[in-house]
């Protein structure tokens, strides 16, 4: 119910933004970021409600992960509008608003059962909570970077390309350390505590490493190539596609230790 309400708020936010996209002036609507923030807060409330019900942080199923991801990206949509550093344009916030809508649509599908189930012993770990939450926070910034990189490739003027590149880089630079800590380091620490092995080349682990390598390559390419090169936005887009494959695709296509998440 709460997830549906959030979905509706985000949809209204997107419709309002779409209307403003076609305006010739640079005016930004005052309502849509607040609707996104409201959706994010509702989703956060739902995650807290579920956490209370199962007596553990509700981040242990695909449905809960999607809710959390949608919640984070909703907050980033709000931040994109009000962060002076990011100075995101209308197209960026419009594109970023589409992502939580997609996540919530996926959460409503049969692929992500919504039933509340307390975690099995292997999942009852503070390291798991850190692992999952940091990974998704990092990926939420990667999502903003993905939208920026996508628009960078589509931009027709050099000024716009530079603006989108700056936004993509800033998003990746913020998301990268958070993702590194969450996906790789906290994940490895949890694996060591739970299974006695830091790394086991499980498909999910391997694909998380590939995601990290892609963004690492991007950050290194930035040191040696001009920021107008098309290689960089392509790497950012590829990184996010790989991150989403790691999130969804691996669960359904490749079996491994992470089959529950």
């Amino acid at each position: 119910m709460i997830a549906t309400l959030s979905f509706a708020l985000l949809l209204i936010s997107m419709i309002i933004q779409a209307v403003y996209l076609f305006r010739k002036d640079e005016a930004k609507d005052p309502l849509s970021p607040w609707l996104a923030l409201g959706a994010g807060l509702l989703l956060l409330a739902e995650i807290i409600r579920r956490s209370v019900a199962i007596r553990f942080v509700a981040l242990t199923s695909m449905f809960e992960s999607l809710l959390f991801m949608a919640c984070l990206v909703s907050f980033i949509v709000f931040a994109l509008r009000y962060s002076k550093r990011l100075r995101a344009g209308r197209a960026i916030t419009f594109g970023a608003t589409a992502l939580p809508i997609i996540f919530l649509a996926l959460a409503s599908s049969p692929l992500a059962p919504a039933e509340m189930r307390p975690p099995v012993p292997a999942l009852q770990s503070g390291w798991l909570v850190l692992h999952v939450s940091f990974t998704f926070i990092g990926e939420a910034f990667f999502a903003a970077g993905f939208v920026g990189a996508f628009l960078q490739l589509a931009a027709k003027t050099e000024e716009k390309r530079r603006n989108y590149d700056r936004l993509a880089y800033t998003s990746i630079a913020i998301g990268y350390p958070i993702f590194t800590a969450g996906a790789l380091v906290f994940g490895a620490v949890w694996a060591e505590k739970a299974w006695g092995v830091w790394w086991s080349w499980d498909p999910k682990e391997t694909w998380a490493l590939i995601t990290w390598l892609t963004y690492t390559a991007y950050l290194h390419f930035r040191l040696v190539r001009k920021n107008t090169s098309k290689v960089m936005p392509i790497l950012v887009i590829a990184g996010f596609i790989i991150a989403m494959f790691t999130f969804f695709g691996v669960n359904f296509l490749l079996s491994g230790l992470h089959s529950y998440a």
Binding site: R85, L86, A122, A173, I174, V185, G196, W207, H220
Partner: protein, 391 residues
Amino acid sequence: MKGFSDKIYDALRSVKLAAALIVLIGILAAAGGIIPQGRTVQFYAQRFPGTGEKLILALGLDRIFTGLPFLALASLFTVNLTICSFHRFASEMRKPRANRRHGPDLLHIGLLIFILGGILSSRTRTEAFIYLGKGQAARLPDGALLTLVDLREERYPDGRPKSWESSVVIDDKAATSLTGVVTPAESGGDTLGESGYTGEDPRIAAGGKAPQVPTSPSSGGAATATTATTVFAGLAPKAGSASVRSIKVNSPLRYKGSTIYQQDWNSELRVVLEDAMGIKLRLEPGTLAPMLGGSVRFMTVEKHEPSQAGAEECSNYKAVFLVSTAAGKEILRAGKGDKVGTFTFSSFEEAPVSALKIVRDKGYPLVAAGLGLIVLGTFLTYIRKLKGMFA
């Protein structure tokens, strides 16, 4: 004019080389992420029939992460990272203190320590699995005796596991606790059980000797399954010699360089034998009971996995025993009520067992330190971006 060695040095420390190596390692990792690793030839023949299977096996794509191309790239990356870290750190130190940025240095040094830890771990790590019922014990690699004094399992109303907890006592003065042991030689020279009839879980019955947990090195990060020989029952340590410690999933027990993990939880069938006095004796698979003039060892349940069948369902199954007497050894298949040596086979009984994994890994501190530095380094590198987001 730069000399040849300078050119090599510049090439090896270049960011371009680092970026290229990262991409190549990523491509190989992607192949390893798509193609299942370390499976049998039959698996690949079935999954990738024809050319696919031949290509995978010929190119070593079934073991990418331990293959030469991946290791060569990883080695070159390590060289690049080492030289780059040294060069960068030296450059930073020449700057005024206020302008120095050591985040990338910490990140790179953390990665190097992590790689060193990984190499040390792959060379020195040993793993062993032991399956203990309540009251059973096994020797740890350092000679101490680990006894399972209790095991508790909780389940949610829907039947899924909620918690597994083993309570153990580790007695490093265990040699003095084991009084009146019966060695295999004393029990009729029966040593078959040391390797086991089924090769799965050989044990020695009450009062038996507790041999060392056999450990084996793990390779390529894959767990190496090894069962341990254990002691059955009656081995409570002497008062004051050791305290009870808990092992839970996600909460392993660290003891003198070994880490003991709660790996699994299961139940197994044991047999109940009755002697002429009506005294009941319980035996797990592989355990031995001394009798007048010899011994009886319970080997296995015929044709069925003991752990997968309940005691009731198994009531018509045959238990396989090795009966050793002065006249020789005899394999005996017995049903309920049959005579087994001087005993009568009374019934099957189901008993919970705790699966513990014992790991010794000298690379642990380096890997942990490396991971810590990686986190610290990445955050220090990009902290300005984090700080400036809402500036």
